[in-house]
């Protein structure tokens, strides 16, 4: 019943639907909101990346840069059209410059319910020492 022509049309409309829901401005990636805090052992970064699963996450260190990228993976129905969209991209991207005192090789990352937690330890010899005051 379905002619090849019709198949093409359906696929195109499904793609358009997804684009209009999420990709109104395809080039711009979303800058995920972060909390960054430092303790004696290192720096912890938490980023809100809703819609990103482990497979869609790309976390890497390039030289002195920590690069966070993720792809939003939500199931949209075929031929769904956007009625309203706060989120207009399917990509997250943000980068940070790491300091020399941080051990980029020992970064630990965890992704849970759309929150990425990255722990970057400080080099052991550069951790703050408590200086005793002699009375």
């Amino acid at each position: 019943m379905t002619t090849p022509n019709e198949v093409t049309t359906h696929a195109a409309s499904a793609r358009d639907g997804k684009q209009s829901l999420m990709n109104a401005t395809p080039a711009a990636a979303i800058r995920p909101l972060v909390d960054i805090f430092e303790t004696a052992d290192g720096i912890t970064l938490r980023a809100d990346m809703p819609g990103v699963s482990k497979e869609g996450l790309n976390l890497r260190v390039e030289g002195a840069n920590l690069l966070i990228e993720g792809t939003i993976n939500i199931v949209t129905e075929q031929r769904m059209s956007a009625l309203y969209a706060d989120v207009r991209s399917t990509q997250y991207r943000r980068s940070f410059v790491l300091g020399n005192e941080l051990e980029a090789a020992n970064i630990d990352a965890n992704l849970q319910d759309g929150i990425l937690t990255v722990r970057i330890p400080k080099r052991a010899d550069l951790r703050p020492r408590k200086i005793e005051v002699r009375s």
Partner: protein
């Protein structure tokens, strides 16, 4: 600390104005863009709404919430979602950035008039709450066969 510095950056202020102007041009032709219940950009959680002939789906970008404590209710075509996101702060730590939202939130979304409040399904995955509301049978487009 840095947040207040950046908000006074004149370049960013210009960008924000541009964004507002774009919203005015493109946002006003959606039912919610200029709607009386619309909220300023950046409000937690961000929302996308998509529709098909059969149903309307609302996506709430709410990472790290306890989905079981989420309060979702619908009255006619008004969908209300409220809950709380706990963002524990480490008092021992030095904070450089605190951009993430923590606390209670509530959003009211006015859906198209033809939704059926008896047909609602909700799920939570990877920090996104997905709420699907069916449209009323009578409102669905019907194919009319030519005899």
């Amino acid at each position: 600390m840095f947040g207040s510095m950046y908000s006074e950056n004149p370049l960013l202020t210009q960008f924000r104005r541009l964004e507002e102007e774009l919203d005015e041009v493109f946002g006003s032709n959606t039912p919610w863009g200029g709607g009386i219940r619309s909220l300023p950009p950046g409000t937690f959680p961000a929302i996308n709404v998509g529709g098909t002939a059969e149903n309307v789906t609302v996506y709430l970008f709410a990472p790290g919430i306890d989905a079981k404590k989420l309060d979702i209710s619908i009255q006619r075509n008004l969908l209300t979602v409220s809950g709380e996101r706990e963002v524990p702060r480490d008092n021992e730590a030095t904070y450089y950035r605190q951009e993430r939202f923590g606390g209670e939130f509530r959003r009211v979304i006015s859906l198209p008039d033809d939704v059926d409040p008896d047909k609602v399904e909700a799920s939570y995955r990877d920090g996104i709450v997905q709420i699907t509301v069916g449209r009323r049978e009578s409102a669905k487009p019907r194919q009319i066969a030519i005899r």
